[in-house]
């Protein structure tokens, strides 16, 4: 196994630093435009909230060609008085290209390895395209570990009602129903974790799978919950990030995230089959309402894509969905936009049927997971129509109802799983 810590310059740097209390990692790929703000926020967070701790900032880069690493190296806080600090505390900084297959997960692995080599007590990772990150995020992700003895801190954001739709319609409800912990943003992207948990992550041989890419977030959260690490969540405010998303291909995102979720269901089937109820997790941080940027939605195009899927992919779906669902999909395909609606129970049954089909290897996994895209788009369109005039709390209530449906129908999953 190639280890980043075996690279001479990294080895020398680790030898210089020796040990660290806190490590914060920033994975990046061509984020020169936004990473400076993130680096400054992290540095200010270190200076403001952990002035007496030995801190290290790691930039794990995927081979950027726009000078991201140089931006990280050169970013400093010019005016510490603006954040009410009168003594300058410079953290150690390591900016390095990561090893392994290209993806966020490989970047995280490098951060885990360096954190482990430095014997870090608390770690955090934050996205490099964040525009809303503040120094307080570092406090909120790290303090529960240092002072509260938690092992994993998931983020909790205020997001636009149509932001994070894979999270809201699949990942949050299914994770909650399977593993019994109400972690609202299991794939939020910004996490805090203990050094002990970082070492545990490194013992797992998953770095050649989809975990090395988009699957890393759900893998970290599920691994922490399923292995009984102490989990909490911290309210970070709004999540606003750069619109340039490297994973613009929706079916690729679904394939990687759902693929990792279903793989984890195989790994931890003895754990989730025993879970019958879900429990809330401790939420740290002061919650407040925030203004959010509007999100444009093209409903006609979404419904067209759903109809095209029903017309062309029905032969594939027939092998895994019940006749009742098949009949329903044919009916909803005919409905006009105003009446277009995919109810919670149908959606839950679809997701559980796909999970079972992946488990039973009914068809090639990649084909199976990519074929869910039109159904997901249809469900998202239905959700948009249903919540068009709803405010944030009403939307949250709808998501809560969906979660309960996932929990109620878990027996369907267990029966079909075999």
């Amino acid at each position: 196994m190639n280890k980043i810590t075996l690279r001479k310059e990294i080895h020398d740097k680790i030898s210089d630093i020796k040990e660290a209390d806190i490590v914060v990692g920033i994975p990046s790929y061509n984020n020169a435009r936004t990473i400076s703000h993130v680096v400054r926020a992290v540095k200010a967070g270190f200076a403001k909230y952990f002035p007496d701790k030995k801190t290290v900032l790691i930039n794990s880069d995927g081979g950027s060609t726009d000078g991201t690493i140089e931006v990280v190296q050169n970013t400093t806080i010019e005016d510490f008085q603006s954040i009410l600090l009168y003594h300058r505390v410079e953290p150690f900084k390591i900016a390095t290209p990561y090893l392994g297959i290209p993806g966020k997960g490989s970047a995280f692995r490098t951060i885990f390895e360096i954190a482990s080599a430095l014997n870090a007590k608390a770690c955090a990772v934050v996205d490099s395209d964040l525009r809303s990150i503040t120094p307080e995020w570092i406090e909120l992700l790290i303090k529960p570990i240092i002072e509260g003895n938690f092992d994993y801190v998931a983020p909790l954001y205020h997001r636009h009602k149509y932001d994070g739709t894979i999270t809201n319609s699949i990942i949050y409800p299914i994770t909650r129903a399977l593993y019994g912990k109400r972690v609202r943003q299991p794939i939020g992207g910004d996490f805090g974790f203990s050094g002990k948990l970082a070492n545990f992550y490194l013992t797992k041989g998953v770095w050649e799978t989809d975990v090395a890419r988009y699957g890393i977030d759900i893998w970290m959260t599920t691994t922490a919950i399923a292995n009984n690490f102490r989990v909490c969540q911290s309210f970070l405010g709004a999540k606003i990030h750069d619109p340039k998303d490297p994973g613009a291909d929706l079916s690729e995102m679904l394939y990687q995230v759902l693929g990792s979720t279903f793989d984890l269901m195989e790994t931890y089937q003895d754990v989730w089959k025993k879970v019958t109820i879900s429990q809330p997790v401790l939420t740290c941080g002061f919650q407040y309402a925030v203004g959010l940027e509007p999100v444009l939605v093209n409903l006609d195009r979404m419904i067209d894509k759903f109809r095209l899927g029903v017309k062309e992919l029905m032969e594939i779906w027939k092998g895994l969905l019940s006749q009742e669902i098949i009949d329903f999909l044919h009916r909803v395909e005919e409905l006009p936009k105003e009446e277009f609606y995919i109810p919670d129970d149908i959606w839950v049954e679809i997701i559980y049927s796909f999970a079972t089909a992946a488990h039973k290897k009914i068809i090639n996994k990649e084909h199976l997971l990519r074929s869910i895209t039109p159904l997901y788009i249809g469900r998202t369109a239905s959700f948009v129509i249903e919540t068009w005039n709803s405010d944030a709390s009403e939307v949250e209530e709808k998501i809560e109802q969906l979660c309960k449906m996932f929990e109620d129908k878990k027996s369907f999953l267990i029966e079909n799983w075999g």
């Binding site: 994070g164 679904l254 290897k361 039109p374 998202t380």
Partner: protein
């Protein structure tokens, strides 16, 4: 006159009758061998099917991904049934060859000899066709899903075209292996394949020029209303 009739009709007829009488026992034994081969084939098929089910061959092949490979290719029958059926057919074909040899007809023996020498080619061609079929289903389905996810109205056509193209390629390779129309087949395939692509280009260029123009205009002017939903 009677001498003439004796020489022209009766003697040849006697000879023919003699030969038929000599041949009949061989024919009978050939038919018996073939019939016993068919019976043995059916029995062996049933026995092996039971044995394979007893040793849970289907579970074993499922665990090692054989079922997945077959299902990817659209073959839905269990592995135990496929192999036992194959054993049955090999038995029947073997007995058919033995029965034909027992006829003691030189012409048939020569044909059989050539046939046996040709068999490896048939076997390789069958394997090429089998894997070509699996691959064509796999590629066709991948192309269909990709086209649907890209929102292409002609995704069904794209999937079928991809499937057909891969299967045609495997047929060409199989025929090449069998030595049927060497060169001609490859050229014919190239002409047909090139022709289809050319026809599609022409159809799109002439028939779909307005659609292409509208599409490009929309893209260039960014008129199409895009989603800003962040899925993750």
């Amino acid at each position: 006159m009677s001498n003439f009739l004796q020489k022209v009709i009766i003697e040849p007829f006697d000879k023919f009758l003699d030969k038929v009488l000599h041949f009949l026992p061989n024919l009978l034994s050939a038919v018996l061998i073939l019939l016993s081969g068919i019976v043995l084939g059916v029995i062996l098929k049933a026995i092996f099917l039971r044995i394979f089910r007893a040793i849970r061959l289907d579970k074993f092949s499922e665990r090692y991904g054989v079922v997945e490979i077959l299902q990817k290719g659209g073959v839905k029958e269990p592995v135990s049934l496929i192999i036992s059926r194959l054993i049955g057919w090999i038995t029947i074909i073997s007995f058919l060859i033995i029965s034909l040899r027992s006829l003691n007809v030189p012409a048939i023996e020569r044909i059989l000899e050539r046939f046996i020498l040709y068999l490896p080619n048939v076997f390789v061609a069958a394997i090429i066709l089998f894997f070509g079929y699996l691959l064509s289903n796999f590629i066709g389905r991948a192309a269909l899903i990709a086209a649907v996810n890209a929102g292409m109205k002609i995704s069904g056509l794209i999937g079928r075209f991809a499937k057909l193209a891969v299967f045609l390629l495997s047929v060409t390779m199989a025929l090449e292996q069998l030595g049927i129309g060497r060169g001609t087949i490859v050229i014919a395939f190239a002409i047909i394949f090139g022709g289809i692509v050319f026809a599609l280009s022409l159809a799109f260029g002439l028939g779909g020029k307005d659609i292409a123009k509208d599409y490009l205009e929309k893209k260039m002017k960014d008129e199409e209303k895009k989603d800003e939903i962040s899925h993750l």
